[in-house]
Subunit: 143 residues, 2 copies
Amino acid sequence: MILKKKKIFNDFAASKGLRSTRQRDIILDIFLSTHQHISVEELYLKVKSSNPGIGHATVYRTLKLFAEAGLAREILLHDGQTRYEHVVAGEHHDHLVCTGCNLIIEFEDETIEKLQNEIAARHGFLINSHKMEIYGLCANCRR
Amino acid sequence: MILKKKKIFNDFAASKGLRSTRQRDIILDIFLSTHQHISVEELYLKVKSSNPGIGHATVYRTLKLFAEAGLAREILLHDGQTRYEHVVAGEHHDHLVCTGCNLIIEFEDETIEKLQNEIAARHGFLINSHKMEIYGLCANCRR
DNA sequence: TATAAATTGAAATTGAATATCAAAAGCATG
DNA sequence: CATGCTTTTGATATTCAATTTCAATTTATA
Ligand SMILES: [Mn+2]
Ligand SMILES: [Mn+2]
Ligand SMILES: [Zn+2]
Ligand SMILES: [Zn+2]
């Protein structure tokens, strides 16, 4: 799985004429070792702890490349921090976000996706992406 | 319609013990005269053109009050600018956003709303709000 | 190895949004 | 309509994420 993702990035890099660098390898390794929805700052700190030399700008730049390569998806919730999550080929999901404890639950709903497509078609839109987030309180935070 | 909205704000202000100020009246008038999805900066410039004395901070503060009063809804699209739209009592809609020309089309879909409620309930969530945006190219921008 | 081009990272900059705080304005009271 | 207290305002500073800059370093290719 991890190897496959590395291959995806290498192929992307090759197709774009990007050079292979130690920094990108490290950042990719660490990104792949994390769980979902990590903020750039969190990842930067993780990277820095084992590789103090790697800079802020490089982490930002590299995560954008991962998104472009299809490895990562950028998600903007309501906390002013850009987060990235892992893309699983052929899968899509949206988010339930607890405003109490920041818990994020993923869900997918085919009917909603289909309706979205219909709505876009009805208005002549060619869909590129969509975002859907439901904000509220999770079971724990309700009481 | 406009009078009704002004009353809503006045009642809100009264209930909160807020004072009535020239600035808030002006900003409300101008907000109510605009169309949907205006950014804070856009509104600020509009306000300043007829009332050069009114400051940046006051516009930000006042728009937050409008949202709190239920007159306005804050919307965060993918351009880093907070926008506000008019709230129509009892109505809700989501957005189709053209990444080519920034056209925004509003839509509502009861089935989607119902499914969202079901999903939240299934996970024990108490919904506070949700956002759903579909990004793509509008009919014009497609060609 | 030499050369050209891409990459990096410290530091500066940007841009939206908020905080600060002295001055001004609103409001209740006599 | 003056007094005194509280809220509001707005110029300015500050914050914070993110981007830009650019000299130095690294990579790829010959
Ligand atoms: Mn997710
Ligand atoms: Mn709208
Ligand atoms: Zn929670
Ligand atoms: Zn368009």
